[in-house]
């Protein structure tokens, strides 16, 4: 996103909008992750409490997903930069 197009007042409003969206996205990530790890890891309904095996699985699941998301973010940033400004000086 190129911020030079916008004046200061607009930039301030956009920055606030970004912050709001980031918070919303974080909550979405959280609920998505819970659902994903639950679906993948919790399959033993002979007991009400989470088994140690399930807990270990959930740990790994959450870790993996967050690391995955981080890596995708890194690559995404690199590739976005390559693509968007075709004529800008490097």
């Amino acid at each position: 996103m190129d911020f030079q197009r916008y004046n200061q007042a607009e930039q301030a409003q956009i920055a606030q909008m970004i912050e709001h969206k980031q918070m919303k996205d974080f909550l979405r990530l959280y609920s998505n992750l819970v659902q994903r790890c639950f679906n993948d890891c919790v399959n033993d309904f002979t007991t009400k409490s989470v088994t140690s095996k399930e807990e270990a699985c959930v740990n790994k699941c959450a870790d993996k997903f967050l690391k995955h998301s981080e890596r995708v973010g890194a690559r995404f940033g690199e590739l976005s930069q390559q693509m968007t400004p075709p004529g800008s000086p490097q």
């Binding site: 200061q8 956009i14 909008m17 790994k60 993996k64 998301s69 995708v72 995404f76 590739l79």
Partner: protein
């Protein structure tokens, strides 16, 4: 010494159209990112969850997945532009 083109730091007006445009671009980028995260997770990460870290294979897979997704995104965009060219302008 003013660094801004206008001279006085008067009350700057916010053009709502600019804000809407920025929001749309932001939403598009966020949506693209979330789709890549989901798709590449399904394609690259097994749900066995043997370990907390990404394996070397998974890491490489993610890198390639993101690059390919961008490629496909661009190709489909081109295709849609070609097809859209046949339609009368709105």
């Amino acid at each position: 010494m003013s660094m801004f083109g206008g001279g006085f730091q008067a009350q700057q007006s916010v053009n709502p159209q600019n804000i809407a445009m920025a929001e749309q671009e932001l939403d598009m980028v966020t949506d693209l990112f979330n789709r890549i995260v989901d798709s590449c997770y399904t394609k690259c990460i097994s749900t066995e969850y043997q370990q907390n870290d990404l394996s070397q294979g998974e890491s490489v897979c993610i890198d390639r997945c993101v690059a390919k997704f961008f490629d496909v995104n661009a190709k489909v965009g081109e295709k849609m532009q070609q097809m859209g060219g046949g339609q009368p302008p709105q």
